[in-house]
Amino acid sequence: MPAIEAEGLEGEFKGGLKAVAGIDLAVEGGEVFGFLGPNGAGKTTTVRMLVTLLRPTGGRARVAGFDVAEQPARVRQRIGVALQEAALDQLMTGRELIELQATLHGIAPRSVRDRADTLLERVGLTEARDRRVGTYSGGMRRRLDLAMALIHEPGVLFLDEPTTGLDPVSRLTLWEEVRRLKDEGTTVFLTTQYLEEADQLADRLAIISAGRLVAEGTPAELKAEVGRPHLEITLTESSDPAAARPVLEGFGTLEPPTPDCQLSLRVQRGAADLAPVVRALDEAGLHVASLQLVEPSLDDVFVAKTGRHLEGASQQPEEAAATAAGDDGRG
């Protein structure tokens, strides 16, 4: 049984605005599932329905085996949620907050402190545990938020843009944690505006646009849908590009070269074609000055599926973090 499944899920607001217009999803247990979409696409509404913060107006969804509309309390017991804005009580200390969260999840009082200490250590907040959250950096708050979502060892974890605005170190720390959770068998439903993040972490991903899913699959499958990789080749001055064309035609389809190269060859196998191509050119007495494998990116997928770039897609997380104020990462 999938850990998360939705059939014709709809979310309509008062006034008739249909934010989610009937989506089907199936996330298997232990999977990291990336959920991508531009602002206003219905991403957050979908997450809010799956975590029982919003009642679906159509279709059905089951999370951890329970119907989100009929058994919301059961769902809440079995999921961890770290929402987009780390909504933490700034007057409380990290330890107080995580202990409160433990109590609210029915963890026995005798186990609360041990569990809290273990998780605070896991996210690197042991030294800061008795400081008020108001003094934490953005990265620390995100890590505390994650620790709170994990306090009851949920089988399904929802992370809504967990690294938005974080510095590179904090981002990598969270990525490591997501990978560790996957290794431990936790199902992770990850929304992100960073395509690189989805590419790095997600086993499969879905793209939502205007309330509908427009693509779903593994990152490799989705990239393959929009095109195969190609080699950009530039030869040394002593080698004639025209002489290279019949050699290269045996490996794929030659395309008009870009301004950065003399020859552009669309290949079938990607990196596996590199060595044979170089060897064939060498045997023909043609010498390579530069060779680059260019693969379709998730941004290409996104553009192909939605007709637009994802906001921030051209901005790497590092750049985004540099522009985000008030974050100094671990501390």
């Binding site: 017991q77 949620v81 007057l91 994990l150 959770l181 068998g185």
Partner: protein
């Protein structure tokens, strides 16, 4: 991971945990706590300093001093401000998203309301002790002694629950702190059309008629009676009933407001 999801926590443990958190946060937020004692204390000082000869008016009850009479009014005012403070704290939680975190937890959702209300009730006991202590320092007498203090604390606590619930209900409806803050002047208006500051007999018409039906009159009189006289059972019961009535109605309204806010989720 993915091994030991928590069980559903009980209502009692959840309310207790949320009340402890709310109380602790109140004490850590002096800008919210100070008005509960500073404004009523200043008003008490102004009234006692400028109106002390009022006690000589015909029909004014026999009291040791005007301070003794005004302590009940100051405490009632403080308790009402405690309700405003509870409302602002709730609204800030809604604005800041912490409320949503609570909603996403597998807790009985009524505990979100009850935790805050219970904290306000406990805080009310502290407010009562503060005003009784202040009065004693400045020469007031508590005529009914220790049993009288117990009566004051009991009425204050129940009234605090009611005012806290009213504040939470308004916050759940308004969803923003500035609107809740806007009810601050109403506290004074409602208080002035009660017998909190002056005996009902000395109020002119129609204020006296309004005061007779204003539950705050019964709460203020119930708080005042053990300070200025021996315990009157009828005044104590009237005070407790008025406070309980407000508490029951306000808690019910705040639960309805919570359900409305959450929809069917």
């Amino acid at each position: 991971m993915a091994a030991a999801e928590g069980a559903a926590p009980g209502l009692g443990s959840t309310v207790s945990a949320l009340a402890r958190r709310a109380l602790r946060n109140s004490l850590r937020r002096p800008q919210f706590l100070a008005p509960l004692v500073v404004f009523p204390s200043l008003m008490l000082a102004v009234n006692v300093g400028g109106l002390s000869r009022t006690t000589a008016l015909p029909g004014f009850p026999h009291v040791h001093g005007f301070l003794d009479f005004q302590l009940g009014a100051a405490l009632t005012q403080s308790l009402m401000l405690g309700g405003v403070s509870a409302g602002i704290a709730t609204a800030l939680e809604i604005e800041g998203g912490f409320f949503e975190r609570l909603v996403a937890a597998p807790i009985p959702r009524i505990s979100i309301v009850l935790g805050r209300v219970l904290a306000t009730g406990v805080l009310s006991v502290g407010q009562a002790l503060y005003f009784l202590g202040l009065g004693l320092i400045f020469g007031a007498h508590i005529q009914a002694g220790v049993p009288g203090v117990a009566v004051v604390l009991a009425i204050a606590c129940v009234a605090g629950l009611g005012f806290g619930a009213l504040g939470v209900m308004i916050a759940l409806r308004a969803r923003n702190a500035s609107t809740v803050q806007g009810i601050f002047p109403i506290v004074f208006v409602v208080l002035f059309i009660s017998s909190a500051f002056f005996p009902e007999k000395l109020l002119s018409s129609p204020a006296d008629a309004v005061a007779a039906y204003n539950p705050l009159s019964y709460i203020a009189d119930g708080l005042r009676n053990p300070i200025i006289d021996s315990i009157s059972l009828s005044r104590a019961v009237d005070g407790l009933l008025a406070a309980t009535g407000i508490a029951v109605v306000a808690i019910a309204l705040s639960v309805v407001a919570l359900r409305g806010r959450l929809g069917d989720t």
